[in-house]
């Protein structure tokens, strides 16, 4: 039963470092593949649509913890040793791309058909149609949902504890079990999360305001 002092706070900050790194991996992997999933999911090809909706159902529908577990331990059962970083990168990318893909798919479909038609009538090819016309409008609709998910992803990095990362939540648990002050420790952990997630919300509403300039 100990007090919460400098040492403990420093330990939490060490955890924070991992949290941030893991979140960055998730953002990048999820963002890149999420866009791909969203585009495939809204494509003309029936098979591609079906495959991508299966992908989304699978990786949205199973707990991230299980995905991590399967990638790290399950693959090891097959005799392939997976490095913890690789496991985390794969699992987070699968998870985040499924969610972001579905969020963006929805907002792409929410852009009025007339916009696609106008882009088509201008003879724009697929890439330009998406990049210049559809995605900017879709992004605006999806912004609150996207920020919401990224914030959840930051917090979801705590699950990486199962493959041995002592990130923020795990560090909090450890300290809680040493000091027997779960409320205080998790209160501090909560505040640290608040401090790293808040800027993200802030960036989100800033982007929203910029895009609102062109509101109809």
């Amino acid at each position: 039963m100990g007090p919460i002092g400098e040492n403990e706070l420093f330990f939490l900050l060490q955890g924070l470092k991992w949290t941030v790194l893991l979140a960055i991996i998730g953002f990048i992997g999820g963002g890149v593949f999420g866009i791909l999933i969203a585009l495939v999911r809204t494509s003309k090809h029936q098979f591609a649509r079906l495959a991508s909706s299966g992908y989304i159902a699978l990786f949205q529908g199973t707990p991230l913890l299980m995905q991590l577990f399967v990638v790290y331990y399950g693959v090891a059962l097959l005799g392939i040793d997976v490095n913890a970083w690789v496991a985390v990168a794969i699992a987070f990318t699968l998870h985040a791309s499924a969610f972001l893909g579905e969020i963006w798919r929805g907002s792409i479909e929410a852009v009025p058909k007339g916009q696609t038609e106008a882009a088509n009538a201008l003879g724009l090819h697929y890439v330009s149609r998406m990049r210049d016309v559809i995605l900017p409008q879709a992004l605006k609709i999806s912004m609150p949902a996207t920020i919401g998910f990224l914030v959840q992803l930051i917090k979801g990095t705590s699950l990486a504890a199962i493959v041995g990362f002592i990130e923020l939540t795990r560090a909090g648990q450890i300290i809680s079990n040493q000091t027997y002050r779960p409320l205080l420790v998790f209160g501090i952990v909560g505040i640290i999360y608040l401090m790293i997630c808040w800027p993200l919300s802030h960036v989100g509403s800033g982007l929203e305001k910029r895009m609102a300039k062109a509101a109809r």
Partner: protein, 222 residues
């Protein structure tokens, strides 16, 4: 590695998994309903023109979205009793899920509301409708349609989040699984089985939402 799978032990405990699944479904549906109510009411207030009306909702959203669910559920379960409010694990779990899901739902739905053309709102006012009617009859449905996949995703996430409720000893699938695992030590078998059950539950959820979407949002758009 010479690991041989043996699902016998897991199959023996099928009834527990079944009741655990029902617990998860119950928590998920109740939490979702509460989240939807909070989301819709919250967004009505959140999109108000008056700053001091918006402020509490914004604060609620920021605090709840940016702190871990575990912290929230711990707070309700362990800290509220110190202030004289004692709730049992199931009620605690539902409230925590509802509040957490509600905060995300408010923001998601707001995205939809803001995608509605100004002309729609003006037309509603021009017909002499009250603010509340304009929101309820004119904005809400197209707004929900615009963000429905995001909302579905959030609710699938909420369904999976029910597993955290095991930490305050609420009865659901993960706690059943953990018990089976600690009794049998068939970790892989238990995890695979539970993952499959979660997949079934969330596919069910996605299916229900797809059905709602298909019957409720089936109007054509330009």
């Amino acid at each position: 590695m010479g690991y041989t799978f043996d699902f016998g032990a897991v199959i023996d405990r099928a009834p527990e998994l079944f009741w655990g699944s029902l617990g998860t479904l119950g928590l998920a549906f109740a939490g979702m309903l509460l989240a939807l109510v909070i989301g819709v009411l919250g967004v009505a207030v959140r999109t108000s023109k008056v700053a001091w009306v918006r402020a509490p909702v914004i604060a609620f959203v920021e605090v709840v979205r940016n702190t871990p669910f575990l912290v929230q559920i711990f707070f309700i379960y362990f800290a509220l009793p110190l202030m004289g409010i004692r709730l049992n694990p199931t009620i605690t779990a539902i409230i925590a899920l509802g509040i957490n899901g509600g905060a995300y739902a408010i923001e998601i739905i707001r995205g939809g509301v803001e995608s509605i053309g100004k002309g729609q709102i003006e037309a509603g006012f021009a017909l002499g409708l009250h603010k509340a009617d304009v929101f309820r009859l004119i904005i809400l449905k197209p707004a929900l349609r615009a963000i429905f996949p995001s909302l579905t995703s959030q609710f699938v996430m909420l369904t999976l989040t029910t597993s955290v409720c095991t930490s305050i000893a609420a009865y659901e699938l993960t706690s059943a699984a953990q018990r089976i695992e600690s009794d049998t030590f068939r970790s892989f078998e238990v995890y695979f089985t539970v993952t499959a059950i979660y997949l079934v539950i969330s596919s069910l959820m996605m299916g229900i939402f797809a059905l709602i979407s298909r019957s409720y949002f089936n109007y054509p758009t330009r």
